[in-house]
Amino acid sequence: MTILIKNGRLVDPANGIDGPHDVLIDKGKIAAVDKPGSLDNRGGSRPQIIDAAGCVVAPGFLDMHVHFREPGFEYKETIESGCQSAAAGGFTSVAVMPNTDPVNDNRSITDFIHTRAREKGIVNVYVIGAITQGLKGERLSDMADLKEAGVIAYSDDGRPVMSNQIMRRALEYSRMLGLPLIQHSEVLDLTCGGCMNEGRVATELGLKGMPTEAEDIMVYRDIALLKKTRGRLHVAHISSAGSVDLVRQAKAHGLPVTCEVTPHHFTLTEDAVRGFDSNTKMSPPLRTQRDVEHILEGLRDGTIDIIATDHAPHDVADKQVEFGAACFGIVGLETALPLTLGLVREGVIPLSKAVEMLTSRPAEIFDLKKGSLGVGQDADVVIFNPDTEYVIDVSNFKSKSKNSPYNGWKVRGRVTHTLVSGKLVYSYSN
């Protein structure tokens, strides 16, 4: 099967390309990239043409932080539905977190997820193994065995590794394995029972707050440990001004630390919680305008490496309850692109940088042969129209769950085609 993507603006940061180029795909790989029209007679048999006029053609996005809930919580999401949600959002690769039931802290669960992904998944599914057994923070999981089974990183996400000693050991041990640790930075005895950011709005609403210090202290601790252990630390969903500053300083000292931000932490503040909509409840919580400004600065100066969604689908039964009792998290995959393009329109980062943060940079951090449209690469491609304006309607989500605070938002930027290994896995139709 040969596909020729014509007339688009190719944005491929890995190869330093941003301009009008056509892309020829053959046998699931990128066969050629060249000036518009120059590939028209290539590809032997008549290729299928995708007209990308007015659109951006880019490497398919990578989301290094999703929860697909399988095994254990299939009523919220499955690997199959999660992959469809990813494809609709322009993501061709995702990395699934291990807080399933049972927890992915051993090879059999990793194998199960890989098998499931092969059978049902329409995008590439990478697997993250647990740092500690059962996410309990007490004993290390079989980290080498998990690597053998193909995990690309370790995380106890949803929970932090609270123990200083265990975190130190995990950083040391993982250095031998060459894989990064992804930390959910939250000091639990500062947030206990909290359900939103501590401060003005929590005070007004009478909701228990989660102070930013709970995040800052753990980011600081991990960085302090990193100096000797020299493992690799990736800070998940950074949300506080202080944490951004800490990561910036650590990078300036040459420490092996990277971090990610979610679209909701650069588009929303704690003010969204007024009215008690549980779709604004996430962990870490929505912070203040000051925190958002520090995050934007971190995006501008490169302190923040990548954008990840923390896609956390929850059934209506888990959300349509009192705010304090609702589950944390939102559906992220299908709103990430327009929200990220908002950064571009506001001049925070250029388009090529936004694409890099969704493609080649995560591929680099997690050592994946993805995120590039160089000749010979897997033909994982997204095509999107950055100008299409529409209103987000959660009922159109491919995800099984509809928990999103963006329902009804007017946004710009729509995915028109998503290809994985040269196969069309999503195309937008009215």
Partner: protein, 311 residues
């Protein structure tokens, strides 16, 4: 003269005109409770459900009496406390009650925002009788009525609210309502019991009881919640009382016409000394009497307003 809102979820949503209307109406209803036959037919045929997920004597009884004095049918339901922890079935419960066509559902719940949640799923009017640490609007309104009766006005008065501000819905509702009515508010407590950025609500913060009450017209004492003793908000009750118990000694430099209110229940001798509680400046029982009048007023105004709409 209907109110600007269909539900009474919090004082934050009430306008100055709303509050004045409620207090004036309550004033005129007070007389009913002094009659030998304490009943008027105003809400005959109307149904009011008291849905209480938290234990309450005073507030629940007050709502029940208020409804009955207006001839409404009042039904009391106590939700099991276990379901409040997990939040299970709250909407289902509300929808089931809704199916029996009540006119007003009065709800008390330990979770902040619970009445908001229910109000999105039912057609009946909701009165918040206290939600978590968020709001307790009828308490604030009866406090205002009590203060206005005594002082003849609200505008310009200054109030000290003393005690566990962090966990108090009474404090929040009073702060919103008092700001709306042009009053000055100071909160007095150890820093551990004052929530972050409370100044944003337009109040002054003080950590010294004697100084904090020296120049005010009203002192509102809040109940110290005994169950929080072991959460390190203060070392122990003895030390708390030494610093923050309202005694005649602490009152010696206060204004002569200072009045003292307390939403109850009182921990005698812990946040307020017995002789102060039973002394001439204390209006604690007037508050309880006024509670009935304020709740009658709200029921009347809410249902009166919906009558206008249906015509």
């Amino acid at each position: 003269m209907p109110l600007s809102c269909r539900h009474i979820l919090g004082t934050r949503e009430l306008t100055r005109k709303d509050i004045e209307t409620i207090l004036d109406t309550a004033d005129s209803f007070k007389e009913i409770s002094t009659r030998q036959i304490k009943k008027v037919p105003t809400l005959r045929g109307r149904t009011i459900i008291n849905l209480f997920f938290e234990p309450s004597t005073r507030t629940r009884t007050s709502f029940e009496i208020a409804g009955k004095r207006l001839s409404a049918d009042v039904i009391n339901i106590s939700g099991s406390t276990s379901s409040t922890v997990k939040g299970e079935n709250l909407i289902d419960t509300a929808r089931n009650l809704e199916a029996m066509c009540p006119d007003i559902i009065v709800i008390r719940h330990s979770a902040s925002g619970a009445p908001w949640l229910i109000s999105r799923f039912v057609k009946s009017s909701i009165i918040n009788a206290g939600d978590g640490a968020h709001e307790h609007p009828t308490q604030a309104l009866l406090d205002l009525l009590t203060i206005r009766e005594q002082k003849g006005k609200l505008e310009g008065l200054s109030v000290a609210i003393v005690g566990d501000i962090a966990h108090s819905r009474v404090a929040r509702s009073n702060i919103h309502a008092m700001k709306t009515m042009g009053m000055k508010i100071r909160v007095v407590a150890p820093p551990t019991l004052i929530p972050l950025e409370i100044e944003e609500l337009g109040v002054e913060v003080c950590h010294d009881l004697e100084k904090g009450i020296r120049d005010v017209d009203v002192v509102m004492m809040l109940r110290i919640q005994m169950e929080r003793q072991d959460q390190c908000y203060f070392p122990n009750l003895r030390e708390y009382s030494n610093l923050f118990c309202l005694t005649n000694e602490k009152l010696k430099n206060s204004k002569k016409d200072l009045i003292i209110i307390h939403p109850g229940p009182v921990n005698r001798g812990i946040e307020i000394a017995l002789d102060v509680m039973n002394g001439p400046r204390s209006l604690i029982l007037d508050q309880v009497t006024n509670g009935v009048a304020v709740r009658m007023a709200l029921m009347y105004l809410i249902l009166g307003a919906s009558d206008d709409n249906s015509n």
